[in-house]
């Protein structure tokens, strides 16, 4: 447990930190301690805390609710791992999205997310707009879309849609 608080305070060497991270991933008890220490820290700094089971509740919601997987960043920034997860209950088109910006977060190891397979009808995945890197793919795809047979080049408006920035 001392190691955890040292870890939190950034006092561990890199190799120790990664060991600690691994233990966090494997131990529910350590994760609970991690959450508690952060709550204590927040309280000491006078920041409004959230209840200690927030992570567990979001985790439970995620298991039951649609998952949003945001694209991973550029390859060269790969180690900055940001995953946006959604606990979205869509009512009349409005959804509450929980964005968790995680950096190697032990509560949601990325590996687990990657293997969380969408479960058919229950799954809603959100995606960010494409950035133009695959524009040639989009065009190469379009002729095979049955919509093209039904509406001609009108369906190609997808490939030149304005939100998509073109790159040279």
């Amino acid at each position: 447990m001392e190691r955890i608080s040292a870890f939190m305070d950034g006092e561990l060497e890199d190799h120790e930190a990664s060991g600690q991270l691994k233990r966090l991933r494997d131990s529910a008890e350590l994760r609970a301690a991690w959450g508690t220490y952060h709550l204590i820290g927040d309280a000491m700094r006078g920041e409004a805390g959230y209840s200690s089971d927030l992570v567990a509740r979001i985790g439970a919601k995620l298991a039951a609710e649609p998952t949003v997987l945001a694209p991973r960043p550029l390859l060269r920034f790969r180690n900055v791992r940001r995953l946006a997860l959604s606990a979205a209950a869509s009512v009349g088109g409005v959804a509450l999205v929980a964005w968790l910006t995680l950096f190697e977060n032990p509560f949601f190891p990325r590996q687990d997310l990657a293997v969380t397979q969408p479960s058919g009808a229950q799954t809603q995945l959100a995606a960010t707009p494409a950035n133009g890197a695959v524009n040639d793919y989009l065009l190469a795809h379009q002729q095979f879309s049955p919509s093209t047979a039904m509406q001609g080049v009108a369906s190609y408006v997808r490939t030149v849609s304005g939100q998509n920035s073109e790159q040279r």
Partner: protein, 328 residues
Amino acid sequence: MFARSALLLPALFGLGFTAGVEIADPLQDSEALAMLQKIADAARELNFAGTFVYQHGDQVETSRIVHFTDASGEYEKLETLDGPRREIIRNNDEVMCYYLDAKIMRSEKRVARRSFPALLPEQLSALTEHYQIRKGDPERIAGFDSNALVLEPRDGMRYGHKFWAEKTSGLLLKARMVNERHNVVEQFSFTHLAIGGGISREMVKPSFSVSFPEWRVDRFAHNLTTNVESGWAVKNFPAGFRKIMEMRRNKLGNSIPVTHLVFSDGLAAVSVFIEPMANRTRINEGLSHQGAINIYTRTINDQVVTVLGEAPASTVMQIANSVSFRGK
């Protein structure tokens, strides 16, 4: 350092409106097929000019389209009226996309001669196996009376479709794709349309010419070799989808070709592109979208696998996650 806080943000999802539930009016398969066939024939054979809106997510974009056909073939022109100026010109089997803002022209050569809805009997049975087909309520669109056709998916692996065709000619006036919650993911709808006379060949010519060296020409979608055996396979594609084509494409300046596989369930198509990492200067792994087209990119060893199509993200991801090299 570790992120300690979780932010809860309310966000708008989808278009915020829901397609009404309609009373089922079961349709004979042959009737549905005839209607789809009529829509496709009208899109090829009629001369028409109009303005349509394309909606996806919370975006609405207006474009103008002209279709002209004579003994020499089929010509089409689409101009975007909102946002960056872009134009698409089609001369028979060649499609050219002009991105005026970036000075890029992309050309595409059509190879899919026998595409939907020139359906084979087994494709039709696949369609009725995976979609429930019924008539919708007649509606007035852009001043025309229409008949509606609803294709509702029987599982979560595909979107629902609704088509409104002009009563007499069969020309498609409106097309909508909905997700499993009946939220609209994409919609095309004419706001103004003239069918028949008054349309000339002049109206389907490009508005400008491509000059060099200011313009760059990308012929990725143009240059291809069909009937290849790439050795790449998708082990676990969703029910109803089957492989309709396998080809190899060449990218400008890259000697290593890109493998392109296409899967379709008759109403939606999903493409799989496999490209050596060495070809790419940037790779955006994960999920993104362009309109209703979901795009998922992952890497397998030194290959970049990109799967995209007008299907739910889960479908696109399932296909991407089961791509493997099985060897030649």
